[in-house]
Symmetry: C2
Subunit: 285 residues, 2 copies
Amino acid sequence: MKIIMSIEEMQNSANRLRAAGKKIGFVPTMGFLHQGHLSLLEEAKTRSDIVVMSIYVNPTQFAPNEDFEAYPRDTERDCKLASQHGCDIVFIPESDQIYPEPYLTYVEVEKMTRILCGASRPAHFRGVTTIVAKLFNIVKPQLAVFGQKDYQQALVIQQMTRDLNFDVEIVIAPIVRESDGLAMSSRNSYLSPDERQQALVLNRSLLMAKQEILSGERDAESLKRKIRANIRQKPAAEIDYVEIVDARNLDPVKDIQHNVLIALAAKFGKTRLIDNIIVDVEKLI
Amino acid sequence: MKIIMSIEEMQNSANRLRAAGKKIGFVPTMGFLHQGHLSLLEEAKTRSDIVVMSIYVNPTQFAPNEDFEAYPRDTERDCKLASQHGCDIVFIPESDQIYPEPYLTYVEVEKMTRILCGASRPAHFRGVTTIVAKLFNIVKPQLAVFGQKDYQQALVIQQMTRDLNFDVEIVIAPIVRESDGLAMSSRNSYLSPDERQQALVLNRSLLMAKQEILSGERDAESLKRKIRANIRQKPAAEIDYVEIVDARNLDPVKDIQHNVLIALAAKFGKTRLIDNIIVDVEKLI
């Protein structure tokens, strides 16, 4: 496995690989890899000749009060894990290369970035779409894999890719969970043992909600109330949002029909966690 | 010369050309070609194997009160001229393909788009950078040529290209003028004979300004006053702006040192014209 730190070298490698007819699959990450990331690498491997993974904790997607500085980092371990899971090139750029002064250009997706996580993190998705557009131009992949855990992010990137005519196929891979159901996240490392235990309520509430739909619940407001009540039983939980939206475009949903996304975010102590489930009503019946 | 109307076909052609080791030079236009455009094609031809020109009157760079509907169009003549000046592929996309519903993504360059033409046309450059980013992803050029006539546009695109890591070299080609000095523009076709005669004051004021600098004028405010007074002698002229800025980054200039851009915009009747000159003080001395 090759490690590349320079943008120019990454672009030259990508040019050479494409000229040789290779299909490049790309997995952008912020590092501190867990099984979720590794499943994305494996997904990319089955669909391409060369897998490139980037590690970059992107400052523009963090607000000043968020955890950019504290975000966990372990590049050496990341590289070892990546090489064991089919990665061919790890791209690890430096911030002064990625945002050289004066840096002035941003890519923004409207409307679908104002809701869910975008409501409480107003500049977050602008940072995400900007860095992903940059990485697409540096890594030049034909395919990129994102995790369903950040479902809104994956859909926003899909929209950007379509709108800006990036010639890149976007694949969304399933959420990977710990054995007790907690969705894997680099931020889980922030949780105290007690917070971690209480955080299981997120996945359990989503499973409860799916069961409610299976039992005939079709009113989104009523179901959201039930989910909120469930989460509030945990004293450490502070709900950011619980939403039910159309899984195709994140449009709000009143009556639960077709394919819905139930998405939620909550803080446990200082740690903000997200989770979601997609429920296809027609397949349940 | 080949004419391509479909985005997918253009991307496939670009992929094939690049796989065959060809260098693609790109000239984006809004059509209604004049000698200025043709000089861009010839510049692209000397620097690349295959020249692609796009014709697309981009609605997102026009404000509702501007001349999108009236903008002159003559695609048949454009194709004939392009084929006579080294163009290999003309790309003519349809608007419903370029901005399919729901269209949500925009590329924006901050700061340098708020001044000069950006001050009176606030959404203009957002439209320009968005369409150029899209066209770069569709045409996949290694090189793109823009005219100095729209110098701010060329610099904004250069900044976007650098910031978003597009692997594209941006070339700025000189202004082409009519024999009497009027800068060539598709919008010159709007002018009445009398307005056209009065519009010569723009180029003449720029040449006068250069002469003033040669004679020792170094105060930007004083020089701008002289230029404005000169233009105001023409009764049809309505000045939008007269500015003197750093030619490298469009930063404001008080003392005229190094390389300055003198840029201006004025209306003659209903027609808004722009013109500029770059004066390298060190080379004058």
